[in-house]
Symmetry: C2
Subunit: 920 residues, 2 copies
């Protein structure tokens, strides 16, 4: 049988830090510290294997375990020169759970185990402190009843309250010895009433029961669920550490404290922590007494302080990372109770990683691994002054990080108007639509009542780097009254509110913000990350401004430029609308005309008066719409060309992936009456015509309707115009010595023929421009993989596509059958019940959607080994998704500009981790 | 080198009927007839291999082919005792293409090849008919120019018209010899003008060119596209048959005709056909002269008639199927020019198959294979009297087969009102919604302006077996004016129209209909089909009436019973609406209450006045909605139970698969103002409240929103009520000795947890009923696989599901990203351009969606080998989809009642074909 128990005492331990899976994190570190010669209260750890065998053995101790516990207990008693339950010199122990990774549901600690009516006398004799003794006993009974036996702690708390009331005292400490004894009597009665048994006086029985309770807690529903949710696999169970007690509350030569080897807030290499004289560990955390800064220990206990400093240095250089430690001083002797890697802020994480590398403690790879990419967000956006008080009036989704403060406005127009006057505004809308772009751009922050993490507001705000709180359902907006109501509070247009986009908080009033500053440490870590990552990092950017910012953040190209976002600019939306209003007529009349002409061709009578007349009439009817249609396209062409020229300039030398028109046309038509009237006037039609057109374009499920390449096949002239604009811009740029690398992307492909036809068409137009301009520009044609079918038949699609860009937003929508605009009604419930393992629009569903991504890559490369593969959905900026994309050999990920640094770091970490797994 | 040319003459041929792939259908049958001793004009067939080699050889004859053609031509000249181009005794030949399966784009026939200025003299001398000679020459020049050289036939037709005008005659036959000669001169000029060369006078050159043209036509774009579309693979090319000419137009001892061995319309065993004395083949078809019935040949040419009868008997018993034959009689001698299996009506197909089996010609399996399942539709529905004249005013989609005639009504209420008075009505709606069910049920036919083959109207109509024309966009309905306009025609309420649901025609006026009658032959074929099929056939039925009809048609269970269709009955929709109106409030208030209570539990102060007050308030607010909610559920329970009891009774002994509530709730709320007001009054609220509720439930993409199991998890009480109703009905039925086999189906599952939680809940409620009733009922719990994700993680879902039913409608929608309500704007264009290979909602997309079906089955069975797998989408009634389902080992298909016979036959054919492939 494998070794069941690992003993540690006096600088010698059976285990070490490598044995986390067997001894748990706590047990392994206690053993390690012991071996390092650091003073640790002696004890022993029962392995996780025993926990496993206990479960398999029908919840009974494995055959020899009880004997081994006894043996190790004897050894401990010998080392400590005291005995469990001894009436003269009692040993007290703590019993703790500890798995390889921490999780909720595991059993809490039981302290002071070994006390009974006899040994409590011994403890009092030994310490000479009667009140201490009885209080320790009282606490032990409470903990054992609650933690081991599962009794309601409330029963004991109520009795304590009663006793305090009776004694007319405020706190436990003020109870007299007699009152404590009385309380203990009551506790023992409660125990018997609720368990039907006497409280165990045998210390061995106490110990066995506590150990069993730890074992059992491994399989309690909460812990099982947690492991399932976080996909924690391969653990055998929890270990149990039985350790002799030390007390920081036995007098003024006692103390207890927590400390960090460096400042976890700034990262500065400065010993950091706090302590309390004559106190127990929990008192430091509880906040009843204010602890002293750790430096003060130097004055109060100079020798012990020196020892602590030595230990701190020892531990940091040993673990090669910042340590978070707990210590207790009992009667002038220092004991270390725990050490673990310290949690830290983003800023600290960067500094510590860079410093440790500089100090030669860790190498660059390790330094990169020490920074959590998720944390970087807080460095890239404004934050509120941490000291400012927050009057939170609502909580929404943290849709785009940062902090913003400004006056409430309820329309994009108003936002632009006020911003033009230099006012800071917060745009508050039920939901946003592409028409609001202008207002969103000038606003400090955006608040919406509806929509999820990937709603229009959220996606656009993240792209712009603007703070946004979305889907804040408790905010009831009344555009008519120019106000919103939340809870009892009425907020009117012009009132100040503040948004915390990282937490999703809506705060009443104006809060001071702190602008972000990127440190040299940040740049250094980014540089190192770039050395290790394999994935190229691109950005989703629709404007030269966004592109510039992303390039500054290190983007190596544009992975998604949404041409339609340009359509909303004030100078062109009118033409876009004109084009849409007549496009349908142009198509149907042209069709009819072609049919009639071919009828004429087929007719045997050479001259057919009727048909001739019809053709003439049709030609006449077509004239008007056609000239409006072509006129609009002609106006849009130079505008789009100019846009692309600007973007090519910013991205000189880097690839720019441009997606042809994607959204359903009705999104571009005005929904507001005044705008409808304006459009009617511009076109010389009635407002009713506009409304009718809008209605005729409405769809039951627009997500699954006439959009993407379906539009491109229907209205080929629009795609032709866009391709012409792209290629003319490319030629013009090249003339100016700008190195252009255009990639033209066809959206929403689902069949091979869609891809083939449009590839041919795009190529024809593009080559036409090249010939006409006489300038050779290399370009690529590819597609987004965003319908499940495209992934399933990727081998066919790849025949005609030079690249795939996975549009994982839409792919997720269609694979789950989720409309991201509508699922807010049930997904919070789904997440809380564990039906969804997090938001699949935030972090890629590797299990389901991921299968389609893998399939798409595999099948695509089978047809075309040189196929370039990237991702341009929101997931391109999510660390765990990036790990998946790295593993599955994508060429690049593309994300919003502010996520570029996160993606750079996350992909470096993914690459390093993968390499290390391969190395092992 | 393989044999390049197969000769046939005088009862002896190198080839036979088995050599279709080498000689084409035509060539193989000519060889077969020759070997049977049947008089066939001698000739030879060049193999498809030569066509393949021609293409591979850079469009040149393979090395020895010219020599072999010469050899065979000499042999033919010898047999015919005439020579190609001979000025005295010329041989004329026809050149025809012929592949193993017929397809468009292949080259047309060239007749009279071998004519030139010399041989035309020979022909005239030989026949003594000058006009015949010159006309033959004229025809040859036209055909050669058009078919072989690709000149525009119009050029020749125009010249002919000119000549006729000049000669002042009506028809070609009236042209004199001189005029014909003149015309030929003109033709030769046209040829030279358009080709730059003289018309070839060398008969060999004519022959080689014609053969090459046939070879080339194999790879013309139209043919390539056709093979691609219809997935015709493995063919080498087309064969070429060169055959000596015979003429049916050389005098009154000549004739030509087409005939069938049995009546292709009724199937009766009676020689059937028609002929013309002194005519060419095309004259019989062209309809200029009225042909005589074949019996008349008995009087006119008794000997030849007897020969023809012998040949007919010989061919039918040889081919063991009805033959469609062409013959020509030249100067008293009969020649057979073609034989092939005859096309026939559904009724004839059944009778012929049954008769041939009875006669011992074929076995039962073959008989089953002889009936095309698609054809059965026409037997199951009313049809129009074929003699009635149709004034077609519009064409829509053939959404549900049959014929209907009645008065136009524009609302479901009106339809019910008029039907109650015994009037026949056609319901005309822009689109239908579940509220219209009552009116749809009583209508003779349904016409909608919007919606595709799987729109609400189409699906419901097919289920009911009611004739329906859907998506008829040219019909402009004006509810206000109570009329519709189509083209120039105004049709008012009360006017008669007729619908042909099989063709999608809208006809003005009242047309007499013929009711369907199922023959004994039908029942016999169905019985035989049942012997061979492996798939179980179930039906989609929501009412006892539908279930009964389906069972009469041979359904072996219900594969999909949509509980929500019952919700629309007049007596229950009010309660359903009441339930929906308050469901949201009940949920949010209950949640809030639970939160507040748990806050109270956690609070340290035992009595918290504030919280207590809040709880009391919440409880009070919850009271009203909760009592309405539970009240509605309590009312619905006995109604649903009664529904299920009726269905169980009809389906005694057979499985009944019941799907729990699926559609989004807003579908149940009234859209019309009057109904909204009625609901408001019923509930004691304002109409505005109703509208607000409706708006709050509206979704951007309802297909992808809160529906299916998402509803079931949100409003578990509704599912609980439904399960209770099902199981109580099951217990009650079993008490009455009815054998019930309930299957409870959870819709729209996409994650394992959805399935696990709902499985547990359904099981709990069901077992509760069983215990309470004290009656043991075996039931199954399973799910629909209708999201792509469900198929991808089927291994996980199958842990908790005893059956899968593929909901291929929704699966198709999500896999393509198509909303069937919206794609009508582009799918017609997609189908015509070949982007879609047919409607994927009609016939399963095996390439894309099919992959998910296969994956779902494989993964599901991996987890649970006993998993029962079926399909309940529209595809369950489509023959080619059924072939796929049979191949992929589904257990059953479920389709609308009227498709049950089709499914029975199609699955038998699939099983037999599969068995035969395995046998080979």
């Amino acid at each position: 049988m494998a070794k069941a128990i690992y003993f540690f005492a006096n600088n010698k331990a059976d285990g070490n830090a490598e044995m986390r899976s067997l001894l748990g994190g706590k047990g392994a570190n206690l053993a390690e510290m012991t071996n390092l010669g650091i003073p640790v209260p002696p004890g022993f750890t029962i392995t996780t294997e025993m926990c496993d065998q206990y479960a398999k053995n029908d919840q009974k101790f494995p055959s020899t375990l009880a004997r081994e516990i006894d043996t190790n207990l004897s050894r401990l008693e010998k080392v400590m020169n005291a005995s469990l339950g001894d009436p003269v010199n009692p040993l007290l122990v703590s019993v703790r759970s500890g798995a390889a990774s921490s999780m909720p549901g595991m059993m809490d600690t039981v302290l002071n185990l070994g006390l009974n009516p006899d040994s409590v006398d011994g403890l009092i004799k030994k310490t000479g402190n009667e009140k201490f003794g009885w209080d320790a006993y009282r606490r032990f009974i409470t903990m054992f009843s609650d933690v081991v036996m599962g009794l309601d702690r409330q029963l004991f708390e109520e009795k304590l309250e009663e006793e305090k009331k009776k004694a007319k005292v405020e706190t436990d400490i003020d109870l007299s010895v007699e009152q404590l004894k009385e309380l203990i009597e009551d506790y023992l009665v409660i125990y018997k009433d609720n368990t039907g048994k006497d409280f165990p006086t045998s210390p061995k029985e106490q110990l066995y029961k506590a150990i069993e309770a730890v074992f059992k807690s491994w399989n309690n529903p909460r812990a099982v669920k947690y492991r399932e949710l976080y996909n924690i696999k391969g653990l055998l169970g929890t270990a149990v550490t039985v350790q002799s007690m030390v007390f920081g509350n036995m007098g003024n030569d006692c103390a207890t404290g927590v400390c960090f080897t460096r400042d976890p807030s700034t990262g500065k290499n400065k010993f950091y922590g706090e302590f309390l004289i004559n106190a127990q560990g929990e008192d430091v955390v509880a906040g009843i007494r204010t602890p002293d800064p750790i430096e003060d220990l130097k004055k109060k206990m100079p020798d012990l302080y020196k020892t602590l400093i030595d230990i701190k240095n020892n531990l940091e250089s040993h673990y090669k990372d910042v340590q978070d430690m707990e210590f207790t001083i009992q009667e002038g002797k220092l004991f270390m109770l725990q050490t673990r890697n310290g949690k830290r802020t983003a800023q600290a994480a960067l500094k510590i990683a860079v410093d440790l590398e500089k100090e030669g403690v860790i190498d660059k790879k390790t330094a990169v691994l020490r920074v959590d990419p998720h944390q970087l967000d807080q460095l890239l956006h404004p934050t509120f002054d941490p000291k400012a008080e927050r009057n939170i009036i609502a909580n929404g989704l943290p849709a785009s990080p940062g902090a913003a403060t400004g006056k409430v406005v309820f329309s994009a127009e108003k936002a632009e108007e006020m911003a033009a006057k230099g006012e800071k505004v917060i745009l508050v809308r039920i939901e946003t639509s592409p028409e609001d772009i202008g207002g969103m751009y000038v606003a400090q922050g955006i608040l919406t009542a509806r929509g999820g993490m990937t709603s229009h507001a959220a996606v656009v705000a993240r792209g712009m780097g603007t703070c946004c709180v979305a889907g804040c359902g408790s905010v009831h907006i009344n555009y008519g009254k120019n106000q919103f109501v939340v809870g009892g509070t009425v907020v009117k247009a012009g009132d100040y509110i503040s948004l915390d986009g990282s937490l999703g908080e809506v705060i009443l009033g104006e809060l001071p913000t702190v602008e972000p500053k990127l440190s040299a440490d940040f740049n250094k870590i980014m540089k190192w990350a770039d050395e290790y990552r394999r994935l190229q990092i691109r950005t989703n950017a629709d404007t030269p401004q966004d592109a510039k910012r992303a390039r500054d953040f290190g983007a190596e190209g544009i992975g998604l430029c949404r041409t339609e976002h340009m359509f909303f600019d004030e100078d062109r939306i009118a033409y876009v609308r004109q084009m849409i209003m007549v496009a349908g007529d142009v198509k149907s009349l042209s069709c009819l005309l072609a049919d009639t002409k071919s009828e004429l061709d087929k007719s045997e009578n050479v001259s057919n008066v009727e048909l001739d007349k019809e053709i003439k009439q049709l030609e006449k009817r077509l004239e008007g719409p056609l000239s409006l249609y072509n006129g609009a396209l002609k106006k849009l062409l130079p505008m789009q060309r100019a846009d692309f020229e600007k973007i090519f300039k910013v991205m000189d030398g880097l690839p720019v992936n441009i997606r042809l028109l994607d959204p359903p046309l009705h999104e571009f038509l005005p929904k507001e009456k005044a705008l409808q009237e304006a459009l009617a006037e511009q076109m010389g039609i009635t407002a009713k015509d506009v409304v009718q057109k809008l209605e005729s374009l409405e769809e039951v499920n627009p997500m699954l309707g006439l959009r993407g390449c379906r539009l491109g096949l229907m209205y080929q002239e629009i795609y032709d115009m866009q391709v012409q604009a792209i290629m003319e811009a490319a030629c013009n740029s090249k003339k100016k010595k700008i190195n252009v690398v255009p990639e033209i992307m066809i959206p929403l492909v689902g069949t091979e023929e869609e891809m083939r036809i449009l590839r041919d068409e795009v190529q024809k137009v593009a080559d036409g421009v090249i010939v006409k301009k006489g300038i050779k520009v290399d370009y690529k044609i590819g597609t987004m993989i965003e319908t499940p079918r495209a992934a399933l038949i990727a081998n066919q699609v790849a025949k005609h596509a030079e690249f795939f860009s996975f549009g994982t937003n839409d792919l997720t929508q269609m694979t789950y059958g989720y409309s991201r605009d509508d699922i807010g009604s049930f997904t919070p419930m789904y997440e809380s019940r564990g039906i969804l393992d997090g938001d699949p629009f935030e972090s890629l569903d590797q299990e389901g959607v991921g299968q389609l991504v893998k399939m798409g890559i595999k099948k695509g490369k089978l047809t075309r080994p040189s196929l370039k593969v990237g991702v341009c959905g929101e997931h391109g900026g999510d660390p765990s998704s990036i790990e998946f994309f790295n593993k599955n050999r994508l060429d690049y990920v593309s994300c919003s500009p502010f996520r570029v640094p996160i993606a750079r770091l996350a992909s470096a970490i993914a690459a390093i981790n993968e390499e290390q797994v391969v190395d092992e």
